[in-house]
């Protein structure tokens, strides 16, 4: 049997692709919460929904930041990560988080308890713009961060930040709709249709992503094979596609027709599960390239 068939290297002294194990479930959780929380805050901000803004703000500020701090090897030094925004997406993320924490909090105060704080109209407008921009940045900068991580070929595409932004938007809209349903509020016109459109768009974007990767570097092609037919295929087909997109769309359409409240929980559960699974699979399935000499390729052609 040709040794080229041993694709995943069993240890560091062997030839093969290496699995990405450096960024684990904590980073995956942080990226997921950043996407969902940022998306929820942004959607709620644009539709003036205070409960959604508060929930999004807390998901990002408490959830995402806690996961990041738990992941860091030296969390007490985390502020040092803000030093190089000119080169690092992590540094840019820290700055955006700082802006979001201030402007997001002020925005919530202005919306919920306007008596507590007074801002002139231009200042309030500037605060609104900064809060929206920083929420948008937080929702999708993780994609740029992953894309700039040159070692993992499967992440090296501009489609990744776009995919994470689309998932963040979908997660934000789904959670916003869920919160409104729970409060017995009527969602703004078009939000439900936008959710359906995003589910379909995400499906096609995932397909385009995989197609693009099937024509990329060898490590990216192998990652794609792992996702579609390999050790992550069950999770990819079952959780990301079936639960995350197909079931979410199905339950959402059923809810639009039947108006049964149990579907609200099912829609949110399926969407969040699919979103989180997609994020984790992106991290876990990533492979580093095979380090082989050209002579090896010749040798295997005996």
């Amino acid at each position: 049997m040709a040794s080229q068939e041993l694709l995943i290297a069993p240890h560091r002294f062997a030839v093969g692709y290496f699995r990405q194990t450096f960024w684990n479930w904590l980073i995956g959780t942080a990226f997921f919460l950043g996407g969902v929380g940022g998306g929820l805050f942004l959607v709620s901000l644009l539709t003036r929904h205070v409960a959604g803004m508060i929930a999004g703000f807390l998901i990002v500020v408490v959830g995402k930041n806690t996961a990041h701090l738990l992941f860091l090897g030296r969390p007490e030094r985390f502020l040092a990560a803000a030093r190089r925004p000119d080169r690092s997406w992590i540094a840019r993320g820290i700055w955006a988080m700082g802006v979001f924490m201030v402007t997001g909090f002020v925005t919530i105060l202005l919306q919920a308890h306007s008596a507590l704080i007074h801002l002139s109209e231009p200042a309030a407008d500037a605060n609104f713009t900064l809060a929206a921009a920083s929420a948008l940045f937080i929702a999708c900068y993780d994609g740029f961060l992953m894309r700039s991580s040159a070692g993992v070929a499967f992440w090296r595409t501009l489609l990744l930040p776009l995919l994470l932004f689309m998932y963040a938007s979908l997660g934000g809209i789904t959670l916003s709709l869920t919160l409104r349903e729970l409060h017995g509020e009527i969602p703004p016109a078009g939000l439900k249709s936008l959710e359906h459109g995003l589910i379909v768009a995400n499906f096609f974007l995932l397909a385009i992503y995989l197609y693009r990767m099937s024509r990329s570097l060898p490590a990216a092609r192998e990652t794609m094979r792992e996702l579609v037919r390999g050790s992550y295929a069950r999770a990819f087909w079952g959780l990301v596609l079936l639960m995350g997109l197909v079931a979410t769309l199905l339950f959402s359409l059923l809810h639009s027709t039947l108006h049964v409240s149990v579907f609200v929980g099912l829609i949110a559960g399926c969407e969040l599960l699919g979103d989180f699974s997609m994020m984790m699979l992106m991290l876990k399935s990533g492979l580093f390239g095979q380090q082989i000499a050209p002579t090896n390729n010749r040798a295997t052609a005996f």
């Binding site: 049997m1 040709a2 040794s3 560091r12 002294f13 062997a14 030839v15 290496f18 990405q20 450096f22 960024w23 992941f71 860091l72 090897g73 030296r74 969390p75 030094r77 985390f78 040092a80 990560a81 803000a82 030093r83 190089r84 080169r87 690092s88 992590i90 540094a91 820290i94 961060l145 992953m146 700039s148 991580s149 040159a150 070692g151 993992v152 570097l217 990533g286 580093f288 390239g289 380090q291 082989i292 000499a293 050209p294 002579t295 090896n296 040798a299 295997t300 005996f302």
Partner: protein, 204 residues
């Protein structure tokens, strides 16, 4: 301006892993962390089979993606081209680990410096060497910068019994590195990642 690097002659490498051991002894890296390692592969089908060896180390890339990814500036490139880590600045975000296509960045997990290889606590040698490391931070091959600064060659180079590792300066016009690569059509690992590595290989 110097650009230090290495050429590894695969025709000379016998896969003895002396470089791996010399590096461990020189740098005293914790358990499971190897700056230098020899990747071994069995190729072909019986009866036409052979083993190939590929000694690896940090490529000290000119466009080092690990240095680009570092948010704190802990990873930096010295004027002589050696890629270094200032562990006092490292926050352990592991962005450099996922940025390096060669997997030559190493994270020191919590508790790793509390036990040595023997399983009976850390040895006197480890106690000295581990003082250079910091749990929760990243480390990497320094091309034995502490030796280079004294005019010596890296430990893996001086230990190699077959002189398979050749250390030098890429900027030296028609120097030994440039000459070897030109004469024997040298190549670098994973050129498609566009990191401009400073470690080249010569065919076996």
């Amino acid at each position: 301006m110097a650009r230090l690097g290495m050429v590894i002659d695969l025709k000379r490498c016998i896969g003895c892993n002396a470089c791996t051991i010399a590096c461990k002894q020189e740098n005293g890296t914790p358990e499971g962390i190897h700056y230098a390692r020899v990747v071994t592969q069995e190729v072909g089908t019986y009866p036409q089979t052979k083993r190939t060896f590929l000694p690896t180390l940090c490529n000290h890339c000119t466009d080092a993606p690990c240095a680009m990814a570092c948010p704190t500036g802990a990873t930096y490139i010295r004027p002589d081209g050696i890629v270094m880590v200032n562990h006092k600045l490292c926050i352990g975000c592991r962005a450099c680990n996922v940025a390096c296509p060669y997997m030559n960045r190493h994270f020191i997990e919590r508790g790793l410096l509390k036990h040595g290889y023997s399983g009976n606590g850390i040895s006197p040698l480890e106690a000295i060497k581990f003082a250079d490391f910091d749990e929760g931070t990243n480390i990497k091959c320094t091309l034995c910068a502490h030796r280079v600064d004294q005019g010596l060659e890296p430990a893996c180079v001086v230990t190699c019994p077959t002189d398979a590792r050749i250390f030098g300066d890429w900027e030296e016009e028609n120097g030994k590195l440039q000459r070897l690569v030109k004469e024997r059509n040298g190549w670098a690992l994973l050129p498609e990642y566009e990191t401009k590595p400073n470690v080249y290989y010569l065919d076996a």
